[in-house]
């Protein structure tokens, strides 16, 4: 269960202050598939990054599994990101000099990698239909294949929450649809809480719940 209590986030841009999120209150149940929808600059990515512990709130609380992550130390936040969260980014963010399998295994490097991880990585790569590319140079892969690699990487440490920030934003419509379908299937199979930030209402429709955000405030 994720509880967001009255969080605000303000950025400093030069001499001025920009309020990215204002008094957000939200609850997301365990295993829920949620889409956060809003136009560009509405604050949906900021909300996602705050949930993932990649940035700190200006005020408010984010309770994940009964713990306020806003109070976590840097080390605790790193552990939280490693164990509890799987990130999928719009720009894939794959390591250019690692193979597909090495990219998938990347989070395990910071969590005592074991032989089981190797086997699980191979299983996930099969699930995202990249078995034929397992040892390939990541740079030879298409955008869709890179995103599938990133999805497998997000799942490697068996997280409870997947945070996907515009996961189809850099893909063509057909590939984007395939990725969304893959995410939906993985959500069903693994029972993971899935939170997708998108500006595309069509993609949002696959989610169990849609949360609209505009100018840093929730609309519904």
């Amino acid at each position: 269960m994720i509880k967001i209590k009255n969080i605000s986030k303000t950025f400093t841009s030069g001499k001025s202050q920009v309020e990215a999120l204002t008094n957000i209150n939200l609850e997301i149940k365990e295993g829920e598939f949620v889409a956060i929808v809003g136009p560009s600059g509405s604050g949906k990515s900021t909300l996602l990054y705050l949930l993932g512990g990649l940035d700190s709130t200006t005020s408010g609380e984010i309770i994940v599994n009964n713990k306020n992550i806003a109070l976590f130390s840097d080390k605790e936040l790193s552990k939280y990101r490693n164990k509890e969260i799987g990130f999928i980014f719009q720009e894939f963010h794959v390591e250019p000099f690692l193979s597909v399998k090495e990219n998938v295994l990347l989070p395990t490097y910071f969590n005592h990698k074991s032989v089981e991880d190797d086997e699980y990585a191979e299983k996930l790569i099969k699930e995202v239909d990249l078995s034929s590319k397992i040892n390939s140079d990541i740079n030879t892969l298409s955008g869709g294949q890179k995103q599938r690699t990133a999805i497998a990487r997000a799942l490697i440490n068996r997280p409870n929450i997947i945070l996907a920030d515009e996961p189809t934003g850099n893909l063509d419509i057909k590939t984007g649809e395939k990725i969304i379908s893959l995410l939906k299937n993985l959500h069903k199979k693994h029972g993971i809480t899935m939170i997708i930030a998108t500006h595309d209402h069509k993609i949002a429709e696959v989610a169990e719940r849609i949360i609209k955000i505009e100018d840093g405030k929730l609309c519904s």
């Binding site: 990054y49 990649l54 990130f87 910071f110």
Partner: protein, 427 residues
């Protein structure tokens, strides 16, 4: 795994990695060259000093600090070098032999034909026991050693080795004359004219000529003349300076062991004489070498500071270039320490590679310089086998130092990289 990531990063950023390796290599090479040279010159100098004064040798003079120079020249006073002094010193436990040195107490001139020219010059004649001299002329090829003390000419003459340097550098090179070496001169005949001076008209008449033969060169003998067997100079004094008092110029003391030298020297000083020995001289020379080491150290330090700045700026640029990668690593669970370690591992690998390259470059440069310098010194009597002392300790120290320098230089950039906000890096 972090090491694997570091290696991959080094491979991917070849140009920057090579720049880092070169920076370290220059710094380490300078350490190897300068410290190797400083230590090498020191070792070569010590070896050279050991030639003229072995570790078991003490040179004894009248104590000039107590009696003064005038007193030394007159050899009057309580601490004169005479037979009583020989007896006193011989009685010191650990003294193996006392070799006294005398001089011819009259004018003398030497004439020699060298390189087609005939030279005649005033010269001082010194006498030393043949046992002491023979150590430097082991073969006795020119005049059999067992006949040195006979009264038949030619008599053996030993020339100071440094005299060759003086001729070659002060005369031959400026005047364009052929250089001389020991081989040219051994076996050369010299005519000795006792009680004859080329300077003073009152003794400008050759009364007798005695044939000498150069039998060898020594670093121990007096620099300002030619040294002959002790008995021969004694005989010359009896004949040409019978009224002069028998006195010794200096004593060469041979001790039973190098460990006893300092203690015996102390006892000799307690008797009122001045005693010099290699270990004491080495300390003084070593103190003087500190200046050379400090100077070369400062040059190395300047080069190292430049290397440090170069590495620091390289890693700062790398950290900024890798903002997104660092953001991703943070997103998948890397702590600040992981990021720091990642950069420092890279710096360590670059440091090791740069240090190895620097050691090889330093070693090769030293060999080239050494070859050139030694060939230049071949015309002198200072002929060390090498001017560099690149010891395993120096190599290991340079390797450790270069690696640590690289790691320390990368510490600030690593800290900066660890502070990168993942949110800002990934957006």
């Amino acid at each position: 795994m972090l090491l694997n990531l570091s290696l991959q990063n080094i491979k991917e950023r070849k140009f920057r990695s090579i720049l880092g390796i070169i920076s370290i290599a220059i710094g380490v090479a300078s350490i190897v060259i300068f410290l190797g040279l400083s230590q090498g010159i020191k070792t070569a100098t010590f070896k050279e000093m050991e030639k003229s004064s072995p570790l078991t040798q003490i040179t004894v003079h009248p104590n000039t600090s107590k009696s003064g120079v005038v007193s030394l020249l007159n050899t009057s006073g309580g601490n004169r070098l005479d037979k009583t002094a020989i007896e006193k010193i011989s009685n010191i436990s650990g003294v193996k032999e006392v070799y006294p040195e005398i001089q011819f107490n009259e004018f003398a001139s030497l004439e020699a034909g060298i390189l087609g020219f005939s030279f005649i010059t005033d010269a001082m004649l010194f006498g030393l026991p043949e046992e002491f001299l023979k150590e430097d002329i082991p073969e006795c090829a020119e005049i059999p050693c067992d006949t040195w003390h006979t009264n038949a000419p030619p008599y053996p003459a030993i020339v100071p080795r440094k005299l060759l340097d003086m001729y070659n550098f002060a005369l031959a090179i400026p005047q364009g004359l052929p250089l001389l070496n020991e081989k040219n001169l051994i076996g050369k005949k010299i005519m000795l004219y006792p009680k004859y001076s080329t300077f003073f008209p009152e003794v400008n008449k050759k009364t007798e000529e005695i044939e000498l033969k150069v039998v060898g060169f020594s670093d121990k003998v007096n620099l300002i003349g030619v040294t002959l067997p002790y008995e021969f100079v004694q005989d010359l004094n009896k004949k040409y300076a019978p009224t002069s008092e028998e006195q010794y110029l200096e004593f060469f003391i041979e001790t039973e062991s190098p460990d006893l030298t300092a203690d015996i020297a102390k006892q000799i000083e307690d008797l009122g004489y001045s005693a010099n020995y290699l270990q004491k001289n080495l300390q003084e020379v070593e103190a003087k070498f500190k200046y050379l080491s400090i100077s070369l150290g400062i040059i190395s330090l300047i080069i190292l500071i430049s290397s440090t700045i170069a590495i620091m700026s390289t890693f700062l640029a790398v950290a900024m270039e890798r903002k997104r990668e660092i953001g991703l690593l943070r997103a998948v669970g890397a702590t600040k320490t992981h990021i720091k370690m990642l950069i420092l591992f890279e710096a360590g690998i670059i440091g090791i590679a740069g240090s190895i390259l620097g050691i090889i470059l330093g070693g090769l440069s030293s060999m080239v310089f050494d070859h050139f310098a030694i060939s230049q010194l071949s015309s002198t009597t200072f002929t060390p086998t090498t001017l560099f002392s690149i010891t395993p300790l120096l190599v290991i120290s340079a390797l450790i130092f270069g690696t640590l320098l690289s790691i320390l230089s990368a510490y600030l950039p690593a800290k900066k990289a660890a502070e990168i906000n993942p949110f800002e890096a990934l957006r």
